[in-house]
Symmetry: C2
């Protein structure tokens, strides 16, 4: 009953693949179980059984990025990295992911398989296992190629004390790398927004770097947060509102690739509002800021790390940026939508 | 910045609600956090922190049912009950759910709020908390009103020994209630398939009944499985293939409401292939079968419980049904798709 992979490659996903019957089972056997082969998934039950001796960080995200393939990645690796990073932001070591597809009828099997393989590769890089999943198929025109939900589980690091409540005046705000790459990469792919560029999405997993930081600095790291949708501006604004202190940042110190900055300028976009994927901010005790920077810059995922600002007692709940030419301006959170379906 | 609920009620979901900016925050504050209000969710971090001292059962499902409101329920409660039941099928006590929405631009806010409230009500009935979530919005025509992913976590019952490997010849197959209701309820709503009926979806949580069964019978229960997509025929076929034994069932003993059976006949459908939601099968040691039936029939979710068959050494990997008039026939798993987007 099962089909050879070469045969699968010539087909498209159809409604039968979501039926729960033989076609579903064949698709799972041929594509999913063979790719993710591990004892937890192989139970093939309605769920998987896992065990943690620690506290567990749980995070869920649905990925609806369009286009599904873009410079620097695709929706499959994005779905792994995004959730892995969200779990890491909780001060945890990601271990397991669930994986749920909503596929639009007509998606080429070859594309589906490519995405599944990207999921596997990204999961391996992050050191997480896919332990349970689901595949639904919707009629043509009722979805958009493929949406992916991942839910991640991680072991909270024994030294982690990640909580907005631990942030205090004087804490430094450190980013691990160049901002605004993912958003500009997606824009460069979109119809009507195309411009010449080699800008690649920065989608990657940062959990290994986060682990090094927690091992080394423990409770002196007060918060991790990844500025995905809404960009740096939105996540810093949220933090300022939550802690009821001020956030001061310096435009000059914000790491950004020249061509990304140029593309933002051409399109009239503020890079602070553009989505990131492999970027995270750490809010740390000021006395360890230099050491954090040194550690990051010696790590593949933190080469361009920079201290971009600090927490202040001034202008509580507000983010203020000192611009390159010396003036200051308020940074508001994103209000509407800059670019739909960025992740 | 936040809107009064009455104002929200007059609006529709738009792309800004998925931006990660202020509109997202407002929607979350006004609709999500206010509804699910609990300390784990209120961390408002990228994820939630939980702790289990037991093994954990994890299950994920995306719900794409169409229409989103149907006789007997809506997609919100379906998304809770479906995953709660999948966790229970692992022999576990469901505790927490993640909740991720993919909303199509233009969904009426009133409908969204109604669905969110149904999620809350169903979660309360099941005794689970919503601990983390995600909301994405896709453009009009790129989704279909709303899709929901839930991932559930439960504490594996200390006495549970749920594994297909424990099934042996002679084990009895017990269902807790009438079959084929959910599928026929959805069909009765669908354009082109409408017929006069009061058939209601059987969507409900069965976790409390499962807990009673595990408390009472422990390892003498060998398998739980819920025959959702693909119906009884598909799930029994899967089991027969997995255990490499035969499954014998008796048409006469299969509990089904008269009007459901009649509707199936009118539409030329075999109820064994029609989706269920609040139905599960238990494969149990034959010596406890009568007690299991008694316990079930005394429970709100098992009033119509019936023993429908047994495991046999004959016809390994196959399901055979003895019909009402005495003949026998092979029951194959569903091959294509009977009715897309049933759950």
């Amino acid at each position: 009953m099962t089909m050879a992979s070469s045969e699968l490659n010539n087909r498209t996903i159809n409604l039968g693949h979501g039926s729960g019957g033989i076609m579903t089972r064949d698709l799972l056997d041929e594509v999913i179980f063979s790719t993710f082969d591990n004892p937890l998934l192989n139970q093939k039950h309605d769920g998987a059984i896992i065990k943690f001796d620690t506290q567990i960080a749980v995070s869920t995200d649905s990925f609806v990025v369009s286009p599904i393939f873009f410079k620097g990645g695709n929706i499959g690796e994005l779905a792994v990295n995004g959730t892995v990073n969200d779990v890491a932001m909780c001060g945890a070591i990601p271990k397991y992911l669930s994986l749920a597809f909503i596929v639009e009828e007509g998606l080429e099997m070859e594309q589906f398989i490519k995405i599944v393989k990207s999921v596997k590769k990204a999961a391996d890089k992050s050191g997480v296992q896919i332990i349970t999943g689901d595949t639904k198929v919707v009629e043509r025109g009722k979805g958009d190629k493929i949406f992916i939900n991942t839910t991640g589980f991680g072991a909270v690091h024994p030294k982690a004390q990640i909580a907005a409540g631990n942030i205090k005046v004087g804490d430094k705000i450190i980013v691990n790398g160049n901002i605004a790459q993912h958003g500009m990469a997606i824009m460069s792919e979109r119809e009507g927004l195309e411009f010449e560029s080699d800008i690649k999405s920065d989608t990657t997993n940062v959990n290994h770097l986060v682990l090094d930081l927690l091992d080394t600095f423990g409770e002196e790291i007060h918060l991790f947060r990844d500025p995905t949708r809404g960009g740096m501006a939105s996540v810093l604004s949220e933090i300022a509102m939550d802690i009821e202190m001020g956030v001061k940042i310096f435009e000059n110190d914000m790491p950004i690739e020249k061509q990304v900055a140029a593309a933002c300028e051409i399109l009239g976009l503020d890079p602070l509002y553009v989505a990131n994927e492999g970027v995270f901010i750490s809010i740390v005790d000021e006395k360890i800021a230099d050491e954090v920077l040194t550690l990051m810059r010696n790590h593949a995922k933190g080469i361009n790390a920079a201290c971009v600002g600090h927490i202040t007692a001034d202008h509580p709940t507000k983010v203020v940026m000192q611009s390159t030419i010396g003036g200051t301006r308020m940074v508001s959170p994103l209000i509407g939508e800059q670019l739909p379906r960025i992740c």
